[in-house]
Symmetry: C2
Subunit: 207 residues, 2 copies
DNA sequence: CTAGCTTTGTGAATCATTTCACAAAGCCGT
DNA sequence: ACGGCTTTGTGAAATGATTCACAAAGCTAG
């Protein structure tokens, strides 16, 4: 498959959300124009985005909503479930555990770790918080697809290294640091400070 | 000022973080090469990014760390403080209130709102949670620069409309919806589902 | 003051993404 | 079955972002 831009993938994800709404409303087909309107883009963009993966529409008619939902789920890898380890049982971790969309989209949190003795052993949404020091033994027999890192900045890189050694191939990182990992491991960093600062920039230079 | 790409602003934000580290270590000057190395980009990119805003370096020598820190803070609008209203006193809101980096970078949460009667009236980090219904009266005499929206999807747009009517010019949105606002209002949406799905895509199509 | 070394700042070139524009397809009504 | 209407899929053009490459500038040592 030829390389597809990240911006394209993000839009596909958006289209999928809109399509699921349409599906819930019982709408059977949708045009690229309709998808674009609600997604903040153009119909040409929608068609180009989809064309990277195939021809899913019917000329003169548009796209079948259920069919396109299925296709997009497959493209985005959402037609399977993922086993997720949560590293860091703080406030953000807690919010994630409870976030419905997480499980709804196929991501199952199967293990939670922390270094705080006050948290270790406590039950959290049906899971016992384990000691981060025991990561290796705890995950020896559990296949983990993805790790969510919610730790202070300085703890993140060492933990990432250990997770990679355990065979984890994807990390969603909330720690405010740039992680270094082998090229076959995917990292996505969500950096709140960065968002605030781009907002602050816009506010001072435009608004 | 000519239009500068968002990607450039995000990198400036990153450079600022690195420079602050250098400053703490007492390093006086830094080259574009050194800034690039730690920031995951190239020296040419660093110089181009900075060149949009001026010439801050000395040829043959590099950039003065404290000077560049000052310049970047000014460019990003971080040389002032912002009054922030938090809408939604749930888990994520709670994590934000306690996040040190928030206050550290000049963002002061001065009001918290929720619709849940169980939460209204309770004290939260020195602030009393107020009823979202009373947004207008509560903020009548408080100048709010920015709002952080942490509500269920369906509540977000109506609240955004009311905030805009109150003169708020920037919204950091954690609700999983695309907000519609006048063009002089800046919205930045942090969408967890989107991040998960791009990660899932990479995982199935590369890893 | 000059030679040699380093590093910036920036046009030009390359590479990537978005938009345009239109032929090809398919539906509907007669 | 045909004409008119709609909407896709996609090369080509336009726009945007990154990388290249080098002259200009400044420092250091002798």
């Amino acid at each position: 498959m030829r390389k597809v831009a990240e911006s394209t993938i993000r839009r596909l994800s958006l289209y999928l959300r809109l399509l699921e709404e349409f599906e819930a409303q019982g709408i059977a087909t949708v045009s690229s124009e309709a998808l674009a309107g609600r997604g903040g883009t153009t119909s040409a963009q929608v068609r180009k985005d989809l064309s990277f993966f195939g021809s899913f529409g019917k000329r003169g008619l548009g796209y079948s909503v259920p069919e396109l939902v299925t296709e997009l789920r497959a493209i985005l890898g959402l037609d399977r479930r993922y086993q997720v380890a949560l590293i860091g049982a703080g406030k953000i971790g807690s919010a994630l555990v409870q976030y419905r969309g997480f499980r709804q989209r196929g991501f199952d949190i199967v293990a939670i770790f922390d270094v705080d003795p006050a948290k270790i052993g406590r039950e959290w949404n049906g899971l016992v918080v384990q000691d981060s020091a025991a990561l290796e033994t705890a995950l020896a027999h559990e296949k983990i697809d993805m790790a969510v890192l919610v730790t202070p900045g300085e703890a993140a890189q060492p933990l990432a290294d250990r997770l990679v050694a355990l065979g984890v191939k994807a990390i969603l990182n909330f720690a405010p640091v740039q992680l270094t990992v082998p090229h076959d491991v995917v990292v996505k960093t969500v950096n709140l400070a960065l968002e605030l600062e781009t907002l602050s920039y816009e506010l001072t230079n435009r608004g």
